[in-house]
């Protein structure tokens, strides 16, 4: 299919033998192809398909087999670009092109998790959202703001960021202090708040990961289901990790349906 600007988007659909209980649209992990890290998204899709879901995995612009290229950059620049919404419109275009009536659930991991939350905010047809390892802080964190600064400039930046952190924690995440906390993915936080309590959202994390720390520190998980799977890291380093994630997603969707 094609995105709004004509960019070719390539998808793979896993169709169950019976009528699908829901369609799960998977956004790729950051700059990886739709097979996902260690081909885990292919495996996840097969497992969910066996459980009765239609699963669609997409290659979005710049990566995998998508038609458009993105400018050469460091890997951290690519991450930040995706975290800032590079793939949101592409995923919305894929969602709009789906030709079935099953309830639509979005799933994404890491950068893909950011993409699905922001896409769900814009698309009322999205019935539910599941994320794995959702980062609410931009790649590089506060360190990215300090890079290259020396002397007084560094001191001022530290003071500014310290003030931002105080406001965030003092207000329990209710206030987003913009330029004082530029490491925080504010559009993502707004999207989470727009969804909280209105549509089912499951935030899944690996027990060996640490991205969930920021979510808890700023109290951003209100109105959402949060689950932590012990022994799993940021990626799916063991094939059994994928099986556990698939079982958790299946059980949660059954509960909300």
């Amino acid at each position: 299919m094609r995105a709004g600007d004509g960019t070719e988007i390539v998808c793979t659909a896993h169709d169950p033998a019976v009528a699908a209980r829901a369609t799960i649209l998977v956004a790729p992990n950051g700059p990886l192809p739709r097979a996902g890290p260690f081909r885990s998204m292919t495996r996840l899709a097969d497992l969910l398909c066996t459980a009765g879901y239609r699963v669609v995995r997409a290659d979005l612009r710049g990566f995998g087999e998508s038609g458009a290229d993105v400018p050469d950059a460091t890997i951290h620049e690519h991450y930040r670009s995706i975290e800032r919404g590079l793939h949101v419109d592409d995923l919305l275009a894929v969602a709009a092109s789906l030709d079935d009536d099953a309830p639509l659930v979005l799933f994404g991991s890491c950068g893909g998790a950011v993409t699905v939350v922001r896409a769900a905010e814009s698309d009322p047809h999205v019935r539910a959202v599941v994320t794995y390892a959702l980062p609410v802080v931009l790649t590089g964190g506060r360190g990215a703001e300090m890079a290259g600064r020396r002397g007084a400039s560094r001191g001022l930046a530290m003071a500014r960021l310290g003030l931002g952190e105080s406001i965030l924690r003092g207000s329990r995440g209710r206030l987003l202090p913009g330029g004082l906390a530029p490491w925080l993915n504010a559009p993502l936080v707004r999207a989470l708040r727009a969804l909280a309590g209105k549509r089912p959202v499951l935030l899944l994390f690996g027990g060996d990961d640490d991205v969930q720390d920021h979510l808890a520190r700023y109290r951003l998980e209100k109105g959402m289901d949060v689950d932590e799977l012990p022994g799993i890291g940021h990626h799916f380093d063991d094939p059994e990790d994928v099986e556990r994630v698939a079982a958790t997603i299946d059980a949660w969707i059954r509960r909300i349906q």
Partner: protein
Amino acid sequence: MPDLDYLFFGPNDALYGVAGGPPDARRAVLVVSPPGVDAVRARRVLFRLVRALAAAGHGALLLDPRGSGESALAFEETSLATHVADIRDGLHELARRFPEAHQRLIAIRYGAVPALAAVQPPAADALLLIDPCLDVRAALRQDLRGEIAKRMRRGAAEEGDDRDALVAQLDAGRPIVLDGERFPPALWRGLNGSQPAALLAIWGDRATMLRSGRDTFVPFHRQLPQARVTVEEPAFEAAALAWARS
């Protein structure tokens, strides 16, 4: 940009590929995606290579052998025989799409031995092997170093998780986890039992080896903050295009 076809083909449509180039191309290249985690690391690079080959007027087909990419089967279900059969099916598809073309073949890392074995006697004009794992045991031991380091960082390393023990496990016919997938004992047996030096000798000067470094696509995957990633202009893309022209 050339038009590309995204297709499932072969027995039971179990193989996935991306094809491009004029039907009357005089030369066509089968690009075999490597087995295991390299397939994920290499995806954009190889996709761009196929697009560049097609734009240069060559026929091109990027093939996912079963157990990798978008093709059927899990990696652990594959063997040397499945990889060899898939490459032969890829060559058939290439011939069907580009009937007037002389065929060439590109294979990468663990895909090198299956490629050497698939086209004996040599049915293709030329073979380009990128960072081939011809000493499979040494290559696996090297890859296991990273795997064990990763387990230790996660605190998930178990007693006996050393390279000798893991290789012995494979030798005994039990799969081991490498980069999130189970490395298949059947493939291991086949790769170890092959004689790449003898196969290479048959190819003679029609085989070219390109060494881009031990870690072929790792700079992209390892996420080094300072690394310019290989989404564009991988080191070997220009070399592979020049090889295809020659």
